[in-house]
């Protein structure tokens, strides 16, 4: 029986997430034994024709061309998994979504008219159906291996969607918010990093995006009550997952605005 084919695709992103695959040094041989790399620009320039059994998609949709390309990739992929904050929420580049796009282009490029870009940076799932979203900026390589293993054996990935606080407590890390008064987004942030920042005595930056049942409004209120300045709280929500609806809601709360409209 031939091995299932894996294709890795890049959209607007930094390559960090797909590099997590190469970072699986100890497991790389096993990965290559179990699957056939049909397309992976970071490892080989060879691109085999589709269809593909599993596509891993990194990056967000920021150009009209990419908006079409993702549709072709979807059509060629039996299973499509998005990886990282860019692909799952639009990434840091989604800061443009609430700003004057034309003015931003003009401030950077001498000839913005040469560019063909969209006014927004959006998640892959906003354009095509996605089978599974793996979070993180960057993703965690153990979780990536878990998702690939689950795909290979037809089971559900063992990836939790709850808050980072559970990981903190399971590790035995002392809460930095309660014991040190540090601002921490852990209570509203999707688990997956094994509470990396709190374990190194810093609050969570929210790089895994919102947890499944995130409560951004009481989170923002608490950070403000602890003495964090409103603009700092706003900035905390506006990083790698700025366009995730729950984080937009947290930022709006910090500004004192009404909640963003498109959020259910």
């Amino acid at each position: 029986m031939s091995r299932p084919t894996l294709a890795v695709w890049k959209f607007a992103s930094c390559d960090g997430c797909q590099l997590s695959l190469l970072d699986c040094e100890d497991e790389l041989l096993a990965v290559c034994g179990a699957i056939e790399l049909a397309s992976f620009a970071e490892a080989t320039s060879h691109v085999a024709p589709g269809p593909y059994d599993l596509s891993l998609v990194e990056g967000s949709i920021t150009t009209p061309h990419d908006a079409l390309r993702i549709k072709e990739i979807r059509a060629q992929s039996k299973t499509l998994v998005t990886i990282g904050a860019c692909a799952t929420s639009g990434g840091l580049q989604a800061l443009r979504n609430t700003r004057d796009h034309a003015a931003m282009l003009a401030s950077v490029y001498a000839r913005p008219d040469y560019l063909e870009t969209l006014a927004t940076s959006t998640a892959i799932a906003d354009h095509v159906p996605v089978d599974f979203e793996l979070r993180g900026c960057p993703i965690d390589k153990h979780q990536l291996l878990e998702v690939v293993s689950a795909f290979l054996h037809g089971r559900k990935p063992n990836v939790q969607r709850h808050s980072t606080c559970l990981e903190c407590k399971m590790r035995g890390t002392v809460c930095v918010m309660v014991a040190k008064g540090q601002p921490c987004l852990g209570p509203v942030t999707h688990a997956g990093c094994n509470a990396l920042c709190p374990t190194y005595a810093r609050g969570c930056f929210g790089c895994f995006g919102p947890s499944d049942a995130a409560r951004p409004v009481p989170m923002a209120d608490r950070l403000i009550a602890l003495g964090t300045a409103r603009p700092v709280v706003e900035r905390l929500f506006e990083t790698f997952n700025v366009a995730a609806p729950a984080f937009r809601e947290g930022a709006a709360r910090a500004r004192g605005d009404a909640p963003p409209k498109d959020h259910e």
Partner: protein, 379 residues
């Protein structure tokens, strides 16, 4: 031979020797020590690793260490960690299944064999261990891993002299004196000579104590020891009257207060992770890339996560209101029906370690102050 009812006194060197005797007897020592800005429970080598002259300030969503200005080794309340870390660890491998040409080989995880001495267990914590014993180690299906860890544990309790602002063991009748199944229990005395009055709770405790030089306690020692916990009982930061509590909560399942708390709650699960009696776990199955090795692991879980009550077609408790209500009514009401006791021992951890400082004693008081005239639980 020491009598079970006899009290003896150890000085600081004697207490150090007691810890050493436990270590010499093959126990790993786990006890309070300063780490990460808190008094945590961790591996300790001996008396020098215990916090010295360190106290704690605890309030809803707030914890800070403070300098006591004395030589106390146990001058603080409970740690963010509960002893369930030792007895019901966050992750426990259950079984591994290997596939080969000859079939499936099923291998149960090896039984734990580590002897651990728990140093400085408080009254509320002893009560919490007794609750988990009842839930996990008795009945028709005792949990083998828990039971094995428990059978190999030695408990050196320390009666509490420094309750925190979030403590209410007096209301829950679990402290500040440790009662129940300890091997040894100590009261630390700081008046004049720094010393420990020791009570014996088991043969194992007596055998260890016999290896250490001690003197018989005088009436003054015993009176001073009683005064420590009598005073501590007056220092409770909180109270939660329990009369009629079960019925009150069950008659108020639609009380507006549940929404009030849901509006503030983050659903982060810190309360359940910190609680020494919460025992909920999930079982995870994973495979390696080859598919030849499958592993089943048990890990802590919480009724506060959205996925915990997910059943076919959706969640049984889709709102945070429903999840908080489930947690609190289980702790304080239905636990009585299920396990014949309260599920709360009054340790205050869920209050201190809640990042937004939600306080179950305050929630109960709010419902008590304005109970619903009628709810569907009545009819």
């Amino acid at each position: 031979m020491l009598d079970l009812n006899q009290r003896v006194v150890l000085d600081r060197a004697g207490f150090a020797a007691l810890l050493q005797a436990l270590a010499d007897d093959g126990h790993a020592l786990v006890g309070p020590t300063v780490g990460d800005g808190a008094i945590v429970l961790d591996a300790i080598a001996g008396i020098d690793d215990l916090p010295r002259g360190v106290g704690d300030d605890q309030a809803p969503g707030h914890y800070r260490l403070r300098d006591r200005g004395d030589a106390a080794l146990f001058g603080y309340a409970v740690s963010p960690h509960a002893w369930k870390r030792e007895l019901l660890p966050p992750r426990v491998p259950l079984v591994q299944i290997r596939r080969s040409a000859t079939g499936l080989a099923i291998e149960a995880a090896p039984a734990p064999t580590r002897k651990v001495a728990f140093i400085g267990v408080r009254g509320c914590e002893l009560a919490a261990i007794a609750i988990q014993d009842r839930v996990l180690a008795t009945g028709a299906h005792p949990d083998a891993d828990y039971a094995a860890r428990r059978a190999q544990s030695f408990i050196l309790a320390v009666h509490c002299g420094s309750p925190a602002g979030t403590c209410f063991c007096v209301s829950m009748e679990t402290g500040p004196r440790a009662r129940g199944a300890f091997d040894l229990a100590a009261t630390e005395l700081l008046d004049g000579e720094h010393r420990f009055v020791i009570e014996i709770g088991s043969d194992a405790g007596r055998a260890i104590l016999a290896r250490v030089a001690s003197r018989t306690a005088t009436t003054d020692d015993v009176t001073a020891a009683t005064a420590v916990t009598d005073h501590a009982a007056t220092q409770m930061g909180r109270a939660m009257p329990t009369a009629g509590l079960r019925d009150l909560l069950m008659a108020n399942l639609e009380h507006p207060r549940w929404q009030h708390v849901a509006d503030r709650c983050l659903g982060c699960a810190n309360c359940t992770m910190s609680c020494p009696t919460c025992f909920c776990t999930s079982v995870e199955d994973t495979t390696d890339l080859s598919g030849d090795v499958a592993t089943r692991t048990r890990r802590w879980d919480s009724c506060f996560t959205a996925d915990f009550a997910y059943v076919h077609g959706g969640s049984a408790r889709p709102s945070l209101r429903a999840r908080y209500r489930q947690w609190m009514t289980h702790k304080l009401a239905t636990w009585h029906d299920q396990f014949d006791s309260s599920g709360c021992v009054g340790c205050g951890r869920c209050i201190t370690w809640c990042p937004v400082g939600i306080d179950l004693t305050e929630e109960v008081a709010a419902i008590r102050a304005a109970p619903a005239p009628r709810s569907h639980a009545d009819g």
